[in-house]
């Protein structure tokens, strides 16, 4: 048996990827562009506040119904125009967008966290815990959120954007719970989970080090959808009276535009700009989700490099 160690290994054709410390999956273009898009929305309020008076987002601070500056009738005093309560659209976007995004982010994160915890519990423990969680999430998902929120709104005075995000999260967990549970159930049987166990991994390791990275595509996709969903849901809640109203969020701005027949009046800037920002948030998150896939699934990368 002495020959064994000396025996040359029949080397396969040259590996497809150079092995390089800087070949980090985290440094891919999609991820970075997505992050830039999302961050630019998140930080627009802070940066925007340095060169634009954000108080112009309040009612009656500007002339009403002005079109954007680059359209006849517009003025550079209000580059993106104004709406019918005398709010400056630029200020509205600079204050509303980060707030909308924050609400979406908090709500989706909490929803996802609850989903991860419950989904893992259900998938791992099985038995009656699993059944209980399934029953609860299946029953909860059909109860119209509006009914519950009306009840809640009766008990709260004035709530912050963060509290509103938490309220939205109350309805954002059953989806992720089901998703994570299903994933845990399939992943649980994977060879690498057993191998990890044999390497002395505890349950925490198994969930967070072994399983979670492989669930990233799902989680990221679900997260992207939930952020958008939560932003839209927050508009619904604000219309219903929950949440702060002095300075509108994106959803609320569109809601106001709708109430004032902006579409038929031809005030496209009123709903169009918020649309655009929502689309940027969504696309940014989507790019991040795609980027994360490559992190989570090295096969994707490997093949792309080969091409």
């Amino acid at each position: 048996m002495a020959t064994l160690t000396a025996e040359p290994v029949a080397a396969r054709p040259a590996p497809q990827v150079r092995v390089n410390r800087w070949d980090s999956p985290w440094l891919n273009a999609k991820l970075i562009i997505g992050l830039i898009m999302v961050l630019s929305v998140a930080l627009s309020g802070v940066v925007g506040g340095m060169f634009w008076d954000l108080r112009l987002a309040r009612v009656g601070t500007s002339p009403q119904d002005l079109p954007p500056a680059f359209v006849p009738g517009g003025t550079w005093a209000h580059p993106l125009g104004t709406e019918n309560s005398g709010r400056d659209m630029l200020a509205v976007l600079l204050t509303g967008a980060p707030r909308s995004f924050r609400i979406g982010l908090i709500a989706a994160t909490i929803g996802l966290l609850i989903g991860v915890v419950l989904g893992c519990l259900a998938g791992f423990l099985g038995g009656w815990v699993d059944r209980l969680i399934l029953i609860a999430s299946d029953a909860w998902i059909t109860i119209p959120s509006l009914v519950v929120l009306i009840v809640i709104s009766a008990f709260v005075r004035q709530i912050s954007a963060e509290t509103m995000a938490v309220l939205i999260a109350m309805f954002a967990w059953p989806g992720p719970t089901r998703l994570i549970r299903a994933q845990v159930l399939t992943l649980r049987e994977r060879g690498y989970i057993r191998m990890a166990r044999l390497s002395g991994a505890n349950t925490f390791d198994v969930i967070f080090r072994e399983m979670m990275p492989n669930m990233l595509p799902y989680i990221a996709a679900s997260f992207t959808g939930n952020v958008s969903g939560a932003i839209l849901a927050s508009a619904g809640l604000e219309a219903l009276g929950l949440g702060p109203t002095r300075i509108p969020t994106l959803g609320m701005t569109i809601f106001y535009a709708n109430q004032a027949s902006a579409v038929i009046r031809g005030m496209w800037w009123w709903w169009g700009f918020p649309f655009l920002v929502l689309a940027i948030i969504f696309s940014g998150l989507f790019l991040i989700a795609i980027g994360l896939d490559e992190v989570a699934n090295p096969r994707l990368r490997g093949l792309q490099v080969k091409q």
Binding site: I143, P144, L232, L300
Partner: protein
């Protein structure tokens, strides 16, 4: 492979019962947690405008008795569960003497027709886009263009529906702007004219639903595809030299689609609830509007009736899919470890 055992069916059925029961209990409890009294509100509404009624307490009591809301909560609860079992939810609180079931029944067929139509298209399109996005052999051009279709889902449906109306109904005049069929000239029936008119009226609202909601499906499907892609049977199938379209549909899509079916079943309630804006903007008859009306007007009997139907259908759909699952997907078994 005998994935399905009698025990599994029994267990799954028990879960169905518990889910429906829990949903029914929640929907019984939640309105009762709300402050305020729907009956009092109703009595106030009834009084002539600009008038003050002095004996409102007496009227409130009379109505409370009529709706069986005067007993202690457990009596009401038992009555409610019995109503659930017989699907008889009594009178509507605000539309007395209309019966809840009669109101639901009037709206239900349209909801089923429009939503099924739209949801199936959404599901197919969304999953197809998602599948193509998650498929490595998708042409790069297609792959970079497809995500654009997803941005629709970041737009609030209420204004999206309006934009569709604005473009296709008001400006281009291609589609009618309201209703489920031409009710001024046609009688519902199995005639070509009626069906054509119904279809013509359904296209815009269906489009609004499809475009705003397919993004969610696509995102989910994309995730499934990407993981499916790495599975052994995919590698095996590729190794066998199967042609790409066949590989795509039979192996990748098929296996990735299964979890999406459960999600579809679970989202039934959300879809109905979410269709209210469509029903409002396109003046389309349906349960969504009824649900919204019942919630905002405090018509709890109507609301409970609709929500219970939703719970029942959702739970049943999930049950059916769970029972069919092992038959479709042999990888899944229900053996207890």
């Amino acid at each position: 492979m005998s994935g399905m055992t009698r025990g599994y069916v029994v267990r799954r059925f028990l879960m169905w019962v518990l889910t429906v029961w829990l949903g029914a209990t929640l929907i019984f409890a939640i309105p009762r947690l709300a402050p305020g009294d729907p009956i009092a509100a109703m009595v106030l509404r009834m009084s002539a405008q600009g008038q003050i009624i002095e004996n409102s307490a007496e009227l409130i009591q009379a109505w409370r008795e009529r709706f069986g809301l005067d007993g202690p909560w457990y009596v009401q609860y038992v009555n409610w569960l019995r109503n659930c079992m017989t699907l008889d939810f009594g009178y509507s609180l605000t539309q007395f003497p209309a019966r809840v079931w009669e109101m639901i029944w009037r709206a239900l067929p349209w909801t089923i027709a429009l939503l099924t139509f739209a949801v199936i298209i959404t599901f197919i399109l969304g999953n197809l886009i998602g599948a193509l996005l998650g498929w490595r052999k998708t042409p790069p051009l297609l792959r970079s263009l497809l995500p654009l279709t997803l941005t629709f889902s970041s737009i609030p449906p209420f204004i999206f529906g309006l934009l569709l109306l604005f473009i296709f109904a008001y400006t281009l005049d291609l589609f009618p702007n309201q209703g489920a069929y031409d009710s001024r000239n046609l009688q519902p029936g199995l005639t070509v004219e009626f069906l054509a008119s119904a279809l013509h009226h359904a296209i815009l609202p269906a489009m609004a639903i499809v475009l705003t909601s397919m993004g969610g499906w696509a995102l989910g499907m994309r995730g499934m595809m990407i993981t499916t892609d790495g599975e052994d049977y995919m590698i095996l199938a590729q190794a066998k030299g199967l042609r790409t379209p066949r590989l795509f549909l039979r192996y990748a899509v098929r296996n990735a689609l299964l979890p999406q079916l459960t999600a579809l079943a679970l989202s039934l309630g959300l879809i109905v609830g979410g269709s209210v804006l469509i029903e409002t903007y396109f003046v389309y008859p349906g349960v969504g509007y009824l649900l919204y009306y019942s919630i905002t007007n405090g018509d709890y009997t109507l609301m409970q009736g609709i929500v219970f139907i939703l719970i029942l259908t959702t739970a049943t759909a999930v049950l059916i899919i769970d029972l069919l699952y092992p038959l479709i997907d042999p990888r899944i078994t229900f053996q207890k470890r």
